[in-house]
Symmetry: C2
Subunit: 415 residues, 2 copies
């Protein structure tokens, strides 16, 4: 069986040498500290299977690189010499994620422990600007952030750009992003050009895939390896995590779930077909169901958050029309989710985007439908939850995807 090369294998071209060994083991320790929390060298050795001697030298290297610190005594009061707790301390390094959306650019930086250390959002009218201008704004935002991080003494290890469309993660070219009107835009190369030589590696990824990464990071240490993230926007996108890895697909477009043909007699979709899932549960469908055209919540000039807030208030107030719209969306959502659950068998389904805003009315009915339609009544059914990450989950996922390099290979951050 062929095996897609991992980050580690790529560095050496598939072979394993002494340096790979060390990289793999330091990465293992770092991941263990992230997932299980700080602990003594002795415990780390016992839990990872490495010897105490090796642990000492590897921890020394990680301290040297500024990725962990020695802290308070462990097990105070217990018999024997107390161990010194080793804790993740990656305040000196960070990963960056930028999301290019139709109406805003959003940037997030997280440090090694997953803490958000920079966050900014800028409105933009991406659909009506040439791609070059949008990229220039992204470059500006990145340039400023990098400068600010540099002066704060924080190194950025990688940048991941979330693009709302088919992004070829090898070449960094966005093949097609219909909401932006993009086609074959060399996003990564253009950004590299604008930012100059001294810039961390940049990659591009589909936004929903990064949303899934963000949710996975949120659950770090809880042994979730199979997860489906569904982004609810004008389009409906999916990010699939299988066995702890993002599912790419042959052309990088796995997870395109917005066009499930669920209603043969349904409305015309932008893709040309009829009755696609997103014509039933996408943001446009919800707004159409919930309000008349003249209603301010359907005014595309107003910020989306305001309009959603207003609709949320109406739902809380028991407005019939809003509640019925939510019920309709929930039904369509449940139908699609239960199909996906059958095929993909995730442990967890996370509803993001606007779905998360209305989780009080959407989650329960969707979860019920999944239970009702499950095939094997014995097995535990997968959970359905709303995302808690808001509208910036793709940027956050990009940041986590970036910082993940360090957990795969701590030597990327030079001491």
């Amino acid at each position: 069986m062929a095996t897609r090369s991992t980050a580690e294998a790529q560095r050496t071209g598939g072979r394993t040498d002494a340096a790979s060994m060390r990289r793999a083991n330091t990465g293992l320790i770092l991941r263990h500290l992230r997932d299980q929390g700080g602990r003594s060298r002795a415990r780390l050795a016992a839990e990872t299977g490495l010897s105490k001697a090796t642990m000492s030298t590897l921890i020394a290297e990680l301290v040297e690189r500024g990725l962990v610190v020695e802290g308070q005594p462990d097990r105070a009061g217990a018999v024997g010499r107390p161990g010194l707790t080793v804790t993740l301390d990656g305040r000196g390094v960070c990963g960056l994620g930028v999301e290019i959306s139709v109406d805003y650019l959003s940037l997030i930086a997280v440090d090694l422990s997953g803490t958000v250390i920079r966050e900014s959002t800028r409105p933009i009218d991406a659909a009506n600007l040439p791609a070059a201008d949008v990229i220039a704004r992204v470059a500006d935002l990145l340039g400023e952030t990098l400068a600010s991080l540099r002066s704060a003494g924080v190194r950025c290890v990688a940048i991941t750009v979330a693009a709302p469309g088919f992004a070829d993660s090898d070449t960094g070219i966005v093949r097609l992003a219909s909401n932006l009107g993009w086609r074959d835009v060399a996003l990564v190369d253009d950004l590299k050009q604008s930012l100059g030589q001294e810039v961390p590696p940049i990659s591009a990824q589909h936004d929903a895939k990064l949303g899934a990464v963000a949710e996975l990071a949120q659950l770090a240490g809880r042994d979730v390896e199979d997860l489906l993230y569904i982004s609810g926007d004008v389009g409906v996108g999916g990010g699939i995590i299988s066995g702890g890895q993002i599912m790419r697909g042959a052309k990088g477009s796995a997870g395109e779930i917005g066009h499930l043909p669920l209603d043969p007699a349904g409305r015309q979709c932008a893709c040309g077909r009829r009755g696609c899932w997103e014509t039933m549960v996408g943001l446009a469908a919800f707004l159409r169901l919930a309000a008349d055209e003249a209603d301010p919540v359907r005014n595309p000039g107003r910020p989306l958050e305001d309009r959603l807030r207003e609709l949320h208030r109406r739902a809380e107030d028991g407005d019939e029309r809003t509640l019925s719209a939510l019920a309709t969306v929930a039904e369509g959502l449940g139908a699609g989710v239960s199909i996906l659950v059958d095929i993909l068998d995730p442990l967890l389904v996370v509803l993001g985007g606007y779905f998360a805003w209305f989780e009080e009315w959407l989650i329960a009915p969707v979860a019920d439908l999944v239970v009702e339609r499950r095939l094997n009544p014995d097995t535990e059914v997968c959970r359905v939850v709303g995302s808690s990450l808001g509208l910036t989950s793709a940027a956050r996922g990009g940041a986590h995807y970036s910082i993940d390099r360090v957990f795969q290979d701590p030597s990327v951050v030079s001491s």
Copy 2:
């Protein structure tokens, strides 16, 4: 991001030591020889990135273990000392796969180069026998085969049993196999008990997943890492290969594609829902469409192969009813396949089971539907082909899955 432990990491509990390093590198060489064919040490060293010195010692180990042989001179006629071609020669080791089907047991053994060295099929009426009796017959078949292999000097490195249902690959328990009437059967443990101590490791896997593995093995070296296999039997099952790995899912049931609700007004399905995909394109549906109840092809007493052969003849003869049934099945098949292609983005869709028997009438219409429904007209569309492996693909996949251990870690075969 959590990463499901690989076979290699499992051996050492996640850490990497010198022995892991050697295992990884010998495995790399073996896979390279399998995928790229025999070649000299010098070429191997250049292509894998290992040094010539290392290559010498590792090849020596592989020769010692009886997995490769030195053969004819390479590059005869060219300038310089000709290299000796090193070739895979695993005639001394094999992997075993057994498929438990409703009406037959099927066993296949493949050696290291993928050649089938044992093949046998026994009829069985599995649905009307207690699980214990079925397992006893499987144990008989395995016992005889193992004895025969032993006397031929061939070592069996592992056994993989294809079960037609939810199989927990960790515990070896078949949770639910509705066609057999099985529920929580400790398949692997019972087999181990029957076969005694001196037996290779046994594992159980869903049959469609192993079908996908068989197809992947068929394509070894052709850089296919994302593949969808669809088995057409009474039920319709799927096996997903993503990034070169079988997609398991959280509970091991990823790929359950038979119950896509494609026709809300459709027929009642055995699962309790209505209009599931397999009620449209499963074997039962095809037979129902193609012949009256009294027709001998619908007599469940006759061997399935005979009945399919008869229907194939009718289709070749241009029989209206048969052709119209095939057209209907093709339409339903295309609808489902294009959904799956959207979600999973495979490079290749392989239709197995009875679909493969009728590929002349099914492939083209299905492929056309996939093309017609694709989302992004720029990208190359995925190919749809019929399986060439016949009804034994699950057993074959099990055999390949078994022998794959050696490619991951050649040290499993002791010299």
